[in-house]
Amino acid sequence: MKGLIRKSLDLCYGWLEKSPLKPLKPLLNAADGFFFRGAEVTEAAPHLRDGINLKRMFIFVVFAAMPSALAGIYLFGWRALWVILISYVVGLGLEVVFAAVRKEEISEGAFVTCILFPLTLPPNIPLWMVGVGIFMGILFGKEVFGGTGHNIFNPALVSRIFLYICFPAVMTGNWIRPMEGWGGFIKYSGDLLSGETLISASLPQAGDAVTAATPLTDFKATGELAPLWDLFWGNVSGSLGETSAILILLGGLFLIITRIADWRIPLSYIGSFVIFAFIFHGINPEKFAPVGFQLLSGGLLFGAFFMATDPVSGPFTKGGRWFFGIICGLLTVLIRGVSGYAEGVMFAILFMNIFSSLIDELVLSYRYKEFRR
């Protein structure tokens, strides 16, 4: 197996040297690097290097998102698989093109973006739209800034906000009734809940909020609350990967244990969210839903564990991370409660991404004030 791959890679290298497809060398390098670790050794002190590398780090984020992705497939049909696949094909394709143009190596960062983005989409989104979204997100969220490591915004959220603004009807009215039994593993797609259902509030059975739009839009429109138990397990309507709280927690915990995500961000985000939601619910229960319901519904957990923890677009200082999380929590509560949107996680995180560098600069200038006299 190993020898075979090695041989075919070497064959490709030889062939590529002569062919007009030479600019695609980064693709081959990436394949080579995927299967075989580099041979490079340290040049100066320290002579040792840690075993970790970005490949493993990013693949582990994909692993962490796997439970949520599987839940999306189970609850909303294996059409979700196509959504994810298209995201990967378009996203990685763009990455290859840019690597070829810039004559750089392909960065593994796109692997993460391409799994996180589809998980934030409504299940019944037209497939072409997925491609457009990830294309715009990777292009304007990342590549124009110089690729992985240089972006200001979380590229997965840039993709989503692009679709959200361009196709608001699709992004807010394409929900599917979650499936049961064998569910999506054998069924292509679920029953569509049309946009009209949402607006005209024809909640068929009173009290059975699950049958209508997403729990949050439901609350916004009717004040109806989905049962917490369903929210926890995930059999409610919503975006592909955001419905099951337990599976998101599982993935998030994995990220924290492996030290890929800093625990400070989810903790401060969710903590401040709970506190502010509690306060505002006390002030105005009409507009602000109860804490438990808000905590488990919508994209809060997914955003706190997978989106806000993106190290590139968030602050890197410890103090900055606390501050970032706290303000994100506050903004989410406010946007959900006061604005015209039912959901506020994406806006909160993108908004705070703008200030990441500023927050870091403030923290650092305080920490190193002794050096500035």
Binding site: G51, P311, V312, F316, L364
Partner: protein, 488 residues
């Protein structure tokens, strides 16, 4: 000055159970080599005047290089033999001169004793003279002060003495092992140094918490000596850091402990003090540790000073591998370019690592019981006892920084290496000063932990050099400082 001493103790990194770092307490003696090369400049010492000519017969322990007018300590012949020739070799960019002595007789261990030595009851002046004649004063990062010119600190300025018994750097000399069965020699040596420095307080001994001799040593030490125990975390064993965590005095950024009146000596150096004063033995034999996975047997070895390194490691290297020989530990060790380079008197360890150029299949998916990692992404993080393998392979691909902040988390000084690295790359080294770049002690943990494989330490050092070029007041240390001050 940046005060980080309180948190310093808890910072740093424990490398855990490394392959090639298990030394037994027994010490072997290496047979004397056929010839030795004695550099005329060894340790904290300027080059000494050569006192022998080609063809001269020399005795083991005889002084062959001495210069009372510069900051230096005498050097000795370490075998009985004949001066064969003189050799010039390069150390870095500086030429050094060495006396090559061919052995005449067998494995003779007798030596010419230091005049006046032989008992622990000596006056301050006597101790100073004996240590100088024995060459012991050249030990330590900035020498041991005496009435001669041997250190960048004057005897009267010594405010505190710190004995460094820590060895957290991978494959550095396991100092606590030297103490087993030698407690009495150690305390005697320590008291001799206290007498020399005229200190009755502010004496600190730092030792690994898990060392077996902690209790025994604690009982043996007098009340005026403070015994500190620390976890085995790198870089607590660096001289600057050990000064800070024991005395509470912050060493100026980029400076040496001597600037705050502290002399730091290792346990092995205290034992050499004992040997010199009580036994009259000059510094001609040195205990070095052979560490690292490249050795067949990891052991402590008594080596005659001047023995070629290749002689000391002969027959002990793992076969069939490309090796990297280092003087010192695996973090800050200096690569040996010529295997014939002599073991100098300030060497304390030799490390051999494998140049691992193997292209491992699907490396990023391996469970990693034996992977050394700061992150918790390998199973080794959850099985603390497993043996980790130290590698020279960078184990990944160079990538742009993703702000994971591992370098910041692992930095013992709470600095932000990735920020400096970027600033230096953009030519903004001055800007990096404002973020504390000059407080970096160059331990190398940032480069070690970086998942993007950025050579952070190299970039920081590049930035410091850049600053020097642009006329920023540089901070010379050791002999360099004496030279700048015009004393040498």
């Amino acid at each position: 000055m940046f005060s980080a001493s309180k948190s310093m103790v808890k910072r740093g990194y424990n490398f855990g159970n490394l392959q090639g770092a298990n030394f037994s307490g027994t010490v072997e003696t290496l047979p004397l080599p056929d010839k030795v090369i004695i550099p005329l400049k060894q340790g904290f010492s300027a080059e000494t005047q050569c006192l022998v000519k080609k063809g001269d017969k020399v005795r083991r322990g005889q002084i062959i290089g001495r210069d009372d007018h510069t900051y230096s300590s005498p050097v000795h012949a370490s075998i009985n033999g004949v001066v064969e020739h003189f050799e010039t070799f390069m150390e870095g960019h500086e030429p050094h001169f060495g006396v090559v002595i061919r052995r005449e007789h067998g494995d003779e261990r007798g030596f010419a004793p230091i005049p006046g030595a032989g008992s622990p009851d000596k006056t301050r002046e006597d101790i100073s003279e004996i240590l100088y004649l024995a060459g012991v004063t050249a030990l330590g990062s900035t020498g041991i002060p005496s009435f001669h010119h041997t250190s960048d600190i004057d005897l009267k300025d010594v405010k505190a003495l710190v004995v460094n018994g820590l060895s957290a750097e991978p494959f550095s000399l396991p100092r606590e092992l030297l103490l087993s069965g030698k407690i009495k020699e150690f305390t005697t040596g320590l008291h001799l140094l206290m007498k020399l420095f005229d200190l009755s307080e502010n004496i600190h001994v730092a030792l690994n918490k898990e060392a077996t001799v902690v209790k025994e040593l604690g009982n043996a030490l007098k009340k005026n000596i403070t015994l500190h125990t620390f976890e085995n975390r790198y870089p607590l064993d660096m001289d600057e850091v050990v000064t800070e965590i024991t005395t509470g005095k912050k060493v100026p950024d980029g400076g040496t402990p001597s600037e705050v009146g502290v002399v730091v000596v290792g346990i092995e150096e205290i034992l050499h003090v004992y040997d010199a004063v009580v036994l009259g033995k000059p510094l001609i034999d040195k205990i070095i540790s052979l560490g690292g996975p490249g050795f067949k047997n990891n052991k402590l070895l008594i080596v005659a000073v001047g023995t070629p390194i290749e002689w000391a490691i002969l027959g002990n290297i793992e076969e069939g591998m490309e090796e990297r020989i280092l003087v010192g530990g695996a973090m800050r060790g200096k690569p040996v370019e010529i295997a014939a380079h002599p073991v100098e008197r300030h060497f304390s360890s030799l490390t051999i690592l494998e140049e691992n150029r193997e292209r491992e299949f699907l490396y990023f998916l391996k469970p990693g019981f034996s992977v050394l990692s700061y992150s918790r992404e390998f199973l080794s993080a959850f099985f603390k006892k497993t043996v980790r393998k130290a590698q020279t392979n960078i184990q990944g691909e160079s990538r742009p920084c993703i702000f994971c902040s591992y370098c910041e988390d692992i930095c013992p000084r709470r600095l932000v290496p990735h920020v400096y690295s970027k600033m230096v790359a953009f030519g903004l080294a001055e800007e990096a000063i404002k973020y504390g770049m000059e407080a970096c002690i160059e331990c190398g943990l940032c480069s070690f932990a970086c998942p993007s494989k950025i050579p952070l330490l190299e970039n920081i050092m590049k930035g410091k050099k850049e600053l020097e070029k642009r006329g920023r007041w540089s901070h010379p240390i050791g002999l360099q400082k004496l030279e700048v001050e015009g004393k040498l």
